[in-house]
């Protein structure tokens, strides 16, 4: 790879910023998002309505909050499949708190604490004992939700205070919901942490080569532990929003969300094997998934078909660039 320049100055980067953005995963996803948007507006006359669009955002805001934290975790080479069960446990704890007369601040504090404790538990098992995170979190996935089932059985907690309903049902301005604002705020926070801080750089380094990162003086276990904590915390933030929106807690709350969250992260261009990805990608992926489910909902497509479409979308978006690359290689060969 040596170049024969006599002037030994090495350029910082090659190509203009515009060229890099054009080639990026995010721009491809943005095209998909625009395409889905156009398709939806052609398919259903009810789509292009401010309130309908606002409703559509609830399809992804809660999942996306978890997806931001999950993106960092997956980039670092780990995964947390217990997030939906953390929602169940956090929601159950909040519901139980009402029975003891807790007010909204206490409920929120309890919900967030449960998320942090669950995240710390996962993180300790993975970083302290060196267990594979996929196994640990499949275990805690059953464990956390199992506790919910034991506490609630076939009952449900209701009777959340009126002020609590703001998180999932409140609007900040016109059609802009609190959840949507929170989604953007968290997107900015996670985007800045991942792309603009030393911590984010460590996350990428660990994901590309954990041994090399350790040999470079990075405290790998500590970074990973923090990422598990953040994922647990975001799961509990999602639990607060979802519980508030539904107004009740059942042990089956958010069943299957872990896979939708992971799908969102991977669709957003995060390498499932770790090492690369971006928050803007996850943001666009969240919109794509939200638009697709909402559009299909307007067309009265049943839920089963929706999951087929989401599955196809995931495989298609990931396979197409690879197929294009192979096609291009064959042509040039």
């Amino acid at each position: 790879m040596s170049i024969t320049a006599t002037n030994r100055s090495i350029p910082d980067r090659l190509g203009s910023p515009a060229q890099r953005y054009l080639k990026s995963w995010e721009s491809l996803l943005l095209l998909v998002a625009v395409f889905v948007f156009l398709l939806n507006s052609l398919a259903s006359p009810y789509f292009l309505d401010a309130w309908n669009l606002s409703d559509a955002t609830f399809n992804f805001t809660e999942k996306a909050m978890i997806a931001f934290a999950m993106a960092l975790l997956i980039i670092s080479g780990e995964i947390d499949l217990s997030v939906a069960s953390i929602i169940a446990l956090a929601s159950t704890a909040m519901g139980a708190a009402i029975q003891f007369g807790a007010g909204t601040p206490e409920i929120v504090a309890i919900g967030l604490s449960v998320g942090l404790i669950c995240g710390a538990f996962n993180g300790a098992l993975v970083t302290g004992l060196g267990l594979p995170s996929i196994v640990v979190t499949i275990g805690t996935m059953s464990l956390f939700r199992g506790i919910s089932y034991i506490v609630l059985g076939d009952k449900a907690y209701t009777g959340y205070p009126a002020s609590f309903s703001f998180f999932g049902q409140g609007y900040v301005w016109w059609v802009i919901s609190f959840e949507l604002v929170l989604f953007f705020v968290l997107a900015i926070i996670y985007g800045v942490v991942l792309h603009k801080t030393n911590f984010g750089r460590a996350v990428f380094a660990i994901g590309n080569n954990p041994v090399g990162a350790m040999f470079s003086g990075i405290r790998v276990a500590r970074v990973k532990f923090i990422l598990f904590l953040s994922t647990g915390l975001m799961a509990s933030v999602a639990a607060i929003c979802l519980t508030s929106r539904l107004g009740s807690t059942r042990p089956s709350i958010a069943v299957g969300w872990e896979l939708e969250v992971v799908t969102m992260v991977v669709l957003g261009g995060v390498n499932i094997l770790g090492g690369s990805g971006s928050i803007p990608g996850v943001v666009i992926a969240a919109f794509v998934m939200g638009l697709v489910t909402f559009g299909l909902g307007l067309l009265n497509v049943p839920g089963i078909v929706m999951s087929i479409v989401i599955g196809m979308l995931l495989i298609g978006v990931i396979a197409l660039p690879r197929m294009w690359q192979q096609f291009a290689e064959k042509r040039s060969a």
Partner: protein
């Protein structure tokens, strides 16, 4: 500097002394990007004889083994089996031709049973095409009994010790009726008693008419079991002959004697005060009682054979593994180093031997690799500042004369030598007090080698204390002010450079008593 004319050409009489070689390699050349691993070498193996392959680390021994077993393809040269030219495009072809290898770390399958390991790829089948377990176990038992190995063929391989794993590998060699058995440092991890048993087994194989290629660093065992020898040096054939015709001194000379075509930078050492003092460093399994001091501006060489515990000790000094005992003092003050982060903070940095896994972070661009341990300096309150990063990375990339298309390029696309420059740049950017370089020029091209050497000299001249672990004798002699030789986890010699000769280094490292010329 030495006479390498002893046996520089294989002469025809050696080939014709009774038996014809079963396997004959001629003019074998193998190049890797930036390195010529083998250059026009030849090798002959005779049925019923043990041929010892001798050479320093990096002489090309493992490359030739990989060519013999079909893992690498030579760029040129040919291979004759019983006089006919053969090619081994895959490991399977080599195995079919009767070539089998027993490695340092045996490549067997821990989770399979002993019998399955022996018969993998050629298991006896029942009429329905399924594996005939009973027959397989019976035949495995037969083979194991035949070599006096008391091993139950039904247990999983991972339950066996290394010596028994070797026996399983030998049983496997017998099961495929191997005609050529390669043993690559088979005794490296064995106890004295196990070694004796292995020698007996080698004798048995020889008596069965098998051709054996025996790779070893230990001269006593070469003289005990080999019939013939072949010496490689720096990827070139140096000589071959009957072991009865040579002595240790002659072999050592052939191994190390070289044309001094590598030029090392001229250095004038200005050693300052003591910066590092290591006392009684111990590890339960890897090393024991390591004590030494290091001064500013000094280059301290660590020589030894592979497995002498040098890298293990250095990694412990860098905080990767914890010592069971021992104290490190930096400028007289005790430094508690329990992680690489602490080591870096204390001013000790480590350029590892395994560049791909431990040195670089492939997937990240060059500048991010360089600034990774220095982010605290280039950032502000934890927020990265790209301009500062690029400027720091550029400073060190240019000091090391890095050849790259841009600083944003993935470090994985660089050549080995340039990757090494990135790793060194990364550590220099932390402004260390002690830099440990573990095999700093292994597998890199001559040009980068010279650049690394020159740079090392420059660093020492600027007062940095340098520890250089190397298995290359010219590098050790050409660069170090003082050399510590390690063997089996202990320091066996500490010598000022002026008193060193290649021969004495090899003797210390291999544990050969000083002999009179």
């Amino acid at each position: 500097m030495s006479s390498n004319a002893v046996h520089s050409e294989p002469n025809e009489s050696q080939i014709a002394d009774g038996v014809a070689p079963i396997l004959e390699l001629g003019g074998i050349t193998k190049k890797f990007p930036g390195v010529v691993a083998l250059s026009d070498v030849s090798l002959r193996l005779y049925p019923g004889q043990v041929t010892a392959l001798i050479g320093e680390n990096g002489a090309g021994k493992s490359t030739i083994v990989k060519i013999l077993t079909g893992i690498y393809q030579p760029d040129s040269g040919d291979m004759k089996l019983n006089g006919t030219i053969v090619r081994f495009p895959t490991a399977h072809h080599a195995s079919d031709a009767g070539v089998t290898a027993i490695h340092q770390e045996t490549v067997l399958f821990d989770e399979l049973s002993v019998a399955e390991n022996i018969f993998i790829g050629h298991a006896p089948k029942t009429r329905t095409g399924l594996i005939d377990l009973a027959e397989m176990n019976r035949r495995a038992q037969e083979l194991l009994t035949g070599i006096d190995a008391e091993i139950d063929p039904t247990v999983k391989l991972r339950e066996l010790g290394i010596a028994n794993k070797h026996l399983v590998a030998i049983a496997r060699a017998l099961s495929i009726d191997a005609r050529i058995v390669i043993m690559d440092e088979p005794t490296a991890a064995l106890s004295h008693k196990e070694i004796q048993e292995l020698y007996e087994l080698v004798g048995q194989l020889r008596d069965q008419g098998k051709a054996i290629l025996f790779i070893s660093h230990k001269f006593d065992e070469i003289f005990q079991i080999a019939d013939r020898y072949t010496v490689f040096r720096d990827g070139q054939f140096v000589g071959e002959g009957h072991i009865a015709d040579v002595d240790e001194n002659a072999l050592v000379q052939m191994m190390v004697g070289r044309s001094v075509d590598q030029i090392f930078p001229h250095r004038e050492t200005h050693q300052g005060e003591e910066i590092l003092r290591v006392s009684d460093y111990c590890h339960p399994t890897e090393f024991e009682d390591i004590s030494f001091t290091l001064r500013k501006g000094e280059i301290l060489g660590f020589y030894g054979l592979v497995g002498a515990g040098r890298s293990e000790f250095m990694q412990s000094l860098f905080g990767i593994t914890r010592p069971s005992k021992g104290v490190v003092r930096i400028e007289g003050e005790i430094a508690a180093i329990d992680s690489p982060a602490r080591a870096v903070a204390a001013g000790i940095v480590y350029v590892p031997e395994d560049r791909g896994k431990q040195g670089t972070i492939i997937g990240l661009p060059i500048f991010e690799n360089i600034t990774l341990p220095s982010l605290d300096r280039t950032s502000k309150r934890g927020f990265i500042r790209l301009a500062e990063e690029f400027s720091l990375a550029r400073t060190y990339a240019e000091r090391l004369d890095l050849r790259a298309a841009s600083l944003d390029q993935d470090v994985g696309n660089l050549s080995g030598g340039n990757q090494q420059k990135v790793v060194i740049a990364k550590w220099l950017a932390t402004r260390p007090r002690v830099i440990i370089l573990d095999e700093p020029t292994k597998g890199i091209d001559i040009g980068s080698k010279a650049a690394v050497h020159e740079f090392m000299a420059e660093l020492a001249a600027q007062g940095l204390a340098v520890i250089m672990v190397s298995s290359e004798i010219p590098e050790i002699l050409g660069m170090s002010d003082r050399v510590i030789v390690m063997r089996e986890g202990r320091i066996v010699a500490e010598v000022e450079n002026e008193q060193l000769t290649p021969e004495s280094l090899v003797r210390h490292a291999a544990g050969i008593a000083e002999s009179v010329h």
